[in-house]
Every structure is written in structure tokens, then in C-alpha cells.
Symmetry: none
Subunit: 204 residues, 4 copies
DNA sequence: CATGAATGAGGCTTCATTCAT
DNA sequence: CATGAATGAAGCCTCATTCAT
């Protein structure tokens, strides 16, 4: 009898938006942006086509929301235990990264797929660049702590390596790719770094 | 008016096909597969839509041809001077690679874009995997010659790094990316490798 | 919390209806019937879409209400001082008419726009015809009083002229249209009519 | 066997365009622009929806073509026998005008309907204004020849009257509207004008 | 071999209307 | 009385593909 109050409406909206974004995320990451029609997204979300436009004014805006969601998740990547020593932080970072690669491949696929499929949407490029630079900066500071000579270049290289690993697991459909081995190698390499300026009797 | 002989026909066909593939390549790599209509491809190739279907029975088949073209180009990557010593071969490889990244970014973009945009075409995935493995094998054998301890893993890592570099130059629109520096670092790293068994007291 | 009595309800209803009709009128006349969505009308009226359907069972019924509103306004056109002499009545009519054209162009635009945009709604045509005939009759009787030979035809012609003037001010966006001059001419023409039978040797 | 030559193609295109414009004209003038869907237009023209877009890049562009067609027809209005005397020219003009009103009501309806229905398309307004001014100029020069005192104002008034007549025949669905009578009255009025500077003993 | 007119399925989007609260 | 989430038909438009010439 009594009309819904604004808070109730807000809750309904949030829930529906969530459903739609989730469905879009799933479809975009498996089928790709261009092959995911609004029809299919709506069906996957269990709503009508029209409702989509109650929440997102276009397919592109829906994409923006999905990208935003990804960015949120990415923030988590760098929340390592700040009190740990550099080696431990690096180890944690790799552990988390590979755990993501193994378990959340949808997210990783999405990140890259979106970057390359819809690169003509300016906001996607901008977001990619921002996130990427954030990662590089974190890595650089960590590598500096670890005593690397040229932490900036090393960070770029490591960043590239990480991206490449993700890319390959996606392209190669994760089949036969020795992720575990590679992870170990990276951890070894970056946590047992011999400080270049070290004298003969101090190891990191 | 004189009837053309079969050879002439064949030549005309080849030339037309070449034109179409080239146009498709250009458009796919700049605009993306889904946004490149047959109409635009035909216009870019300077032929009619109908003719396209004389040579390729569908847009997908045209894509196959484009992928084939890319594979041809990739072969060139590994044709290094076989008589050179390992260090030199590695240096040549990096030189050629970065020269491609800098000058033929369309090709690289294409390779990755296609892989991610049209990953649902099985033949694309298969081709990607084959080419990638070829590269890894070459690298592995080279790294073995260079005396690396675990050449297979090193090859995978290096392969990932290379892919990552390419990916980043594309995503970041090549702006501010210190390609030259990174190239030098890689060359240093892989051509001045200290064979692990060469000295009696080194660390891994 | 005290239960409202029927009269209060009625007042609320009337006020809300008024708001909606006013908003619809504004939008119809500026944006046109087909481009004015229920959503926009509701927003302009400051109410919810649902409420609209509490008062009007369809967009068409809302249109009917708007047309009714226009008719109300039109009644005013012919309420001239009945005790004045014919010349004065004619002058008053023109004064009022041109004042409307100049100041209430929304109303005029609406009248004509609706007539032509939604002419397939039978009630619109019927209403138009009724109102138009009312005007013609008034004019005819006035022209008869002024001594015109064929007041019916003259009324039709004058009616056409008036409609044409309105139409032009709308189509031409009122720019450069010498309204004042035309008004004077009409007043001159219809208030200084020389009664044909007033002199012994006139021509028809 | 042999491919069509460009001229043949051009003919086909012209014919199809003509069909589409004609169908659109019919539908626009009877049903109105907003209620005439591309689907209906295509069906009326006997072609597929898609073909429309081979010739007109949007519904708006189709409207432009229709408006252009109308303008072409309008040119005919003023092609009177230039060697005739002013009275005769005026008579011819009215004859032609009323013949159009009676027989080509679709055209007239279209002219006005379009002006009011799609007034938010700038090109429609511009075209209306241009055409209208052309008519006024022609009338003005004719009225000057006929010896009217203030031909410019008279022309505007007559223009308004004509527009109003057209408008009314449309709004009133031509029912009971004494077109013939009004025509006669206009012809009388404008072809038996007594030149104001005439002396007492000469009638026109 | 070559052309581009023609088709129709399907994509994105709008909007009048319904309904649970 | 009042809200706005939800629906689904229909609108405009694109595009891979076919086909007569």
C-alpha cells in the first residue's frame, strides 16, 4: 500500500545494476565485447532488454561500469603487508598474482581483452594506462628496496613479463603452460637478488 | 579479347587476393575485426564486394588468410645467421624484434588483436599456439647454447617478457615507453650471461 | 493522518492534472507530440510516470486534455465588448489576436502543430473544425454588421488570412515578419469598409 | 555474363530512389513523418528495409529528398505566361493554385505538415523560408504591376491568405469548404483592382 | 572475372504502459 | 495518492551474404 521509500529503490537499483554488470562481465570475458549483444546480456542477467537502459544509457556505458569493476579488483593486487620486508612483499605479490591467474582467469582475460578489443574507446585506454602505471610504480619501489641497480627499467621488464604470462595463459588456453614452474623462477629471481653494491660478506 | 591462359588467370587471382588480404589486414589492425565491414574492406582494396566472395567464401575465411599472412611474416623472425655464435644470434634476434615493434607495429597489434578478438575461431587459437611454441623452441635452443641452467623455463619467461613488451607498446600507444632502454637491458642480460658452471663459486 | 475528505481529494487531483497538462502543453508545443515522451512530461511536471496514468489512461487521453485546454483559451478570443459598435468590435478582435500571436506564440504553435501532427486522432480534427467554425460565424456576423456584401465568403477569406499569418509567424520563426504593419492594414481594411449600399453609384 | 555498365547501374539507382521517395512522400503526407516507419516506407515502395539505406543514409536524409522533390514541384507554380498582362497572370496563378489545392492536396498537406512536424530539422525551416519568400516576391511584383499602393504588405497578406486556405482545406478535410467560391472572390479582388491613383473616370 | 543492387537477420535503443509496493 | 522498476514491441540502422547481369 505504502509506496517504496527512496532507500528501497536504491537497493533495488543497486542489485539490478550488479546483476547486469556481472552478466556483462561474464559475457564480455568469454565471448568478447562485440559478440555480446544487449539481448544476450539481458538474458544472462535474467532481465529484459529495456531494463538495461534504465541503468546504463548505452552499451558503452555498461562497458565503463565493467571496467570500473575490474579496477576495483585490481586495487587488491597491491595491498600487501606493508610491514613485511621487501623479499616477503615480493613473494606475496607473486603468490597473489599467480593465484589470480589460475583462479580468476576471467578477470585477467577481461582486462586484456577489453584493452585490445575496445581500444577505440578512449576511457579504456586511459584506465589501462593508469592502472598499468600504478603497478609499475609499486614494482619499482619494491625493486629499489630489494637493491636493484636500475629499478625503473627492471620494473618495466617485470611488468612486461607479467603481462606476457597473463597473455599467454589466455591465448594458449592455459593448456600445458608451466605456471607453477614460472612462478617459482620469478620468486627465486626477485627474492634472492644479490645487491650489486654488496661486499663479499653480506647477502640480501 | 584473346583468351587468357590459365597461368594468367592464376596471376590475376593472386594479385587480387593479395590486395584484399592487405586491405583486410590494415583495417583489422586499426579498426578491429568486428568493426571492419566487408564493404569497407572492399573499398579499401579497390574492388567490389562481390569480388571478395569470389576469393573468400566468408569473412571468416578472409580472416584465415590474414592470419596466414602473419604467420609468413613471423617465419622471418627466426631466420638468423645460423653460423653466428649464440650471443650474436641473440643480439640479432632482439634487434630484429625491436625493429619490428618500432616499425611494424601494425603487424604486432594485429597478431595480438586477432588472438584476443577472434579467439573463438578455433583456427586462430591453434595457429597462435603453434607459432608461439616455435618461438619458444628457438629461444630455448639458443638459451641452451648460451649456457643457461634451465633453458626451457628461461625461454618461457623470455617469451612472456617479449609478449608483454609488445602488449604494452600497443596498450600504452607507444607513448613514453622506453623501448630502446629495455632493448639494451635485454641484450645485456642475454648476451652477457655468465655460464653458471664457468666459475667455482657463483650464486644462482 | 486525518482522512482527507472527498473535496480535498478532488482538489489534489485537479492540481496534479493541471500540472501535467501544463507540462504536456509546453513539451508538445516545443518538441512536438511524437518526440515528447511520457517520461519527459512527467519529469517536467515534477511527478512520476505512474501518477500520469492515474489521471490519464493513455498518452492520447492526455493529448485530449491539452486540446481541451486550448479550446478554453480560444473562447476568450471572441469575448469582445458586445455593446461596442461593429468597427470597434473588429478592432478589438484584431488587437487581441495580434497580441496573442506576439505573446502567446506557444499557444498558436500548439493549435496548429497539434492539428497537423496528430491529425489522425479523430477528436483533434473534430475539435479543430468546431472551433474554426465558431470563429467563422463570429466573423461573419461581424462582417455583416459592417455591411459587407458577402459576409460568409469574406469571413472565410479573413479566417484563412488569419490562419496564414499565424502559420507564417511560426514557420518563419517570427523573424522579419512585419506583424505590426499587417495588423494595421487589416484593421484599416475591415474597419473602414465603405458600405456598398451607402452611395448610389458603387460597384460590387 | 557481362557485368552491368555504370550507366545501367545509375538507371537502376535512379528508379529505386524514385520509388522510395514516392512512397515516403505518400506516407509522410497521409500518416505523418513520425508515424511513417522505415519498415512501412519500404513495404510501400516494395523493397527491403535495408535497401533504403543504400540510397539514403538515414530517415532524415530521406526527408530531405522528399522536401527537395516538393521544391521542384513548387517551381512550377510561378511559371506563368510572362507575356500576359498582370491581370491575366494573377488569374493564371490563382487557377493553378486552386487546381493544386483540389487535386494535389497531398503535396500541399506535405508542404505544411513537414514544416510543422519536423520543424526541428534546420534544413526544413530554411527551405520553407526560401520558398515562401520566393512566392512573396513574385506576388509583390505582380501586385505592383496591378497598381497596388503597398504591394509588399499586400503580398504578405495575400501570401498569408493562401497559406491559410491551404491549411484549412487540410485541417477541415476539405469537407464543406467552399473552395470555388473563395477562388472567385480572390480573382475578382485581385484582377479588378481599382488603381488608387486613378482619376474619377477610369475603372480598371 | 567483376559489379553493386538487393535482402533480411540481428544489433542498439526508445518508450508507452503495467505493477508491486 | 504516489513511485519508479520492469516489460516488450517497435523503431532506426548495419552488415554479411546472394545474385542478376
Amino acid at each position: 500500500m505504502s509506496p517504496r521509500n527512496p532507500k528501497e529503490f536504491e537497493e533495488i537499483r543497486e542489485k539490478s545494476k550488479e546483476k547486469i554488470i556481472h552478466a556483462a562481465f561474464e559475457l564480455f570475458s568469454t565471448t568478447g565485447y562485440w559478440r555480446s549483444s544487449i539481448s544476450k546480456i539481458a538474458k544472462q542477467a535474467g532481465i529484459s532488454k529495456g531494463l538495461m537502459y534504465n541503468y546504463f544509457s548505452s552499451k558503452e556505458e555498461l562497458l565503463q561500469a565493467v571496467v570500473g569493476k575490474i579496477v576495483d579488483v585490481l586495487q587488491d593486487f597491491f595491498n600487501v603487508d606493508e610491514k613485511a620486508d621487501p623479499e616477503e612483499k615480493m613473494r606475496q605479490f607473486f603468490q597473489k598474482l599467480f593465484s589470480y591467474i589460475e583462479n580468476n582467469s576471467a578477470l585477467m582475460r577481461m582486462m586484456i581483452k577489453i584493452g585490445l578489443q575496445v581500444g577505440h574507446f578512449e576511457f579504456v585506454n586511459k584506465t589501462s594506462a593508469i592502472q598499468y602505471n600504478l603497478m609499475i610504480q609499486k614494482l619499482e619501489s619494491n625493486l629499489a628496496d630489494l637493491g636493484f641497480d636500475d629499478p625503473k627499467s627492471e620494473a618495466l621488464l617485470l611488468g612486461a613479463t607479467i603481462d606476457g604470462i597473463v597473455l599467454q595463459t589466455l591465448l594458449l588456453k592455459e593448456k600445458d603452460y608451466p605456471l607453477a614452474e614460472i612462478k617459482e623462477q620469478l620468486i627465486q629471481k626477485y627474492t634472492h637478488h644479490q645487491k650489486p653494491n654488496s661486499t663479499q660478506n653480506q647477502q640480501s
